[in-house]
Amino acid sequence: MIRAILITLTVAGTAASAETLRLAATTSFNNSGLSDVLLPAIAQDIGLDVQLLVVGTGQATRLGQSGDVDAIFVHSKSAELAFVAAGYGSHRREIMYNDFVLIGPSGDPAQVRAATSAIEALQSIASAQATFVSRGDDSGTHRKEMALWATADHDPADFAAWYREVGAGMGASLNSASAMNAYILADRASWLNFGNKGDHSLLFAGDPALFNQYSYLPVNPERHAHVKAQAAQALGNWLVSPRAERIINGYEIGGEALFVFNARP
């Protein structure tokens, strides 16, 4: 019977062979729909089947640290630098950026529309004590939000019940915000691709403080000998190629470009 179990497991385990690479990427990369156009192009150009694990930046770096993925694609610069400095990643490559936007009820009770900077917008939410949904999942978006609060001289730990950590991905958090009639910080791509907008609209965007840099970091083969370093290298080269530039810059939802390619070849 043990043999039968082993056979079953082996069969199930080898279900996906071919040249594959495991990439841990942030939810926004997937929710935006960009991965749906990039992955087929990658398969077509360099014959690489990229298996995408959609997780928060926190979990993505953990996966890279333990060698459970071959590369990570995330957006949290300080975490990325630490990742490379500790020797988990062989190097860091900036690929593209998009921006974060403040979403809230169309009635805008906290007058966020009138703000001149992202910091000012958050301050007006805090002083109005308007309901605010935070990802609370240690993702890149969550870290960005925390950094913004810190710049605005606020510590979310001191906030009253109007500040709600939902501990969920971007989509689920948007669902929560929609249900609670709350403000939320989201990446533009996820917002545009979100299907349950309800009475919510984009209230504030454009401050450079809200820019969101995505980087590609292959896992260091010196740390984990089993990772597919060559495939990861090939993917890295493809991501900075003119072909990738065309696809990324050309990706639009509802006529709006979402990402700006900024890799230096």
Binding site: I5, T8, L9, G13, A15, S66, D68, G169
Partner: protein, 234 residues
């Protein structure tokens, strides 16, 4: 209410058009859960039957543990299996994390105690019925277990169906150990979670109805198969 109608329409559309992704996901759901069911049954049925007929010192403790394990939270199982299978974990070299095999392992751990517990209940009753006869006929332990399993097969079918139901509807553990990778480890439940996250409730609900329909079909199929037997009394 509108969303439920939209979900039904979406489900109908998905099935009607034989959507390739839907078929892929559905087959994987079946593959994973049926594999888990076969393995878990192969472990649980003999074990539970053996527990029903054997008297030994820590028997009560073992049975209580088995019943308690029925309530294992899938998320915790997922997390533990994840840590065990991670490259830094003890079984990391097998490279099983984020494969269907990992999902099968997690589901086996989740449903084996459930199947064993229901089996044990039924087998204990049957054994008190058969005890004197089987002892009198000088049967070996193996023959007793085989006889009880064969004659109690209807109860065992119920146990297996309960296990299958728990496996196919499970999302917490397989999301963690499978990673919900498109075309590799995405199954119906994780796809539903994903679509809900995207706010695409209609598609999520559509997949949900497919899942319910699938579960119903498997149940009906097994019941029909067992009813074709002529011994209809028990």
């Amino acid at each position: 209410m509108n969303e439920i109608w939209a979900g039904m329409a979406e489900a109908f559309l998905l099935i009607w058009s034989l959507d390739a992704d839907l078929i892929d996901i559905t087959l994987r759901s079946l593959q994973v859960s049926l594999s888990a069911l076969v393995i878990a049954s192969a472990l649980a049925l003999p074990l539970a039957t053996w527990l029903a007929i054997r008297r030994f010192r820590h028997r009560r403790f073992v049975i209580a543990t088995m019943n308690a394990l029925m309530g294992l939270p899938p998320v915790v199982v997922g997390l533990i299996v994840y840590l065990l299978l991670s490259r830094t974990g003890p079984f990391g070299v097998l490279g099983l994390l984020f494969t269907p095999a990992a999902m099968i392992i997690a589901q086996v751990i989740i449903i084996t105690p459930l199947i064993a517990s229901i089996t044990h209940q039924a087998m204990r009753e049957l054994w008190s019925d058969y005890h004197d006869l089987l002892i009198s006929l000088n049967t070996t332990h193996g023959q007793r277990i085989a006889t009880l399993i064969w004659d109690g097969r209807r109860a065992l079918m119920t146990a297996a169906l309960a296990g299958f139901g728990r496996a196919i509807g499970e999302v917490g553990a397989i999301m963690i150990v499978g990673g919900n990778i498109d075309h590799v480890t995405r199954v119906l439940t994780t796809a539903i979670a994903l679509e809900t996250g995207k706010g695409d409730f209609a598609l999520a609900l559509g997949l949900g109805f497919v899942l319910i329909a699938l579960s119903l079909c498997v149940n009906l199929a097994i019941h029909t198969l067992s009813r074709t037997e002529r011994e209809g009394l028990w």
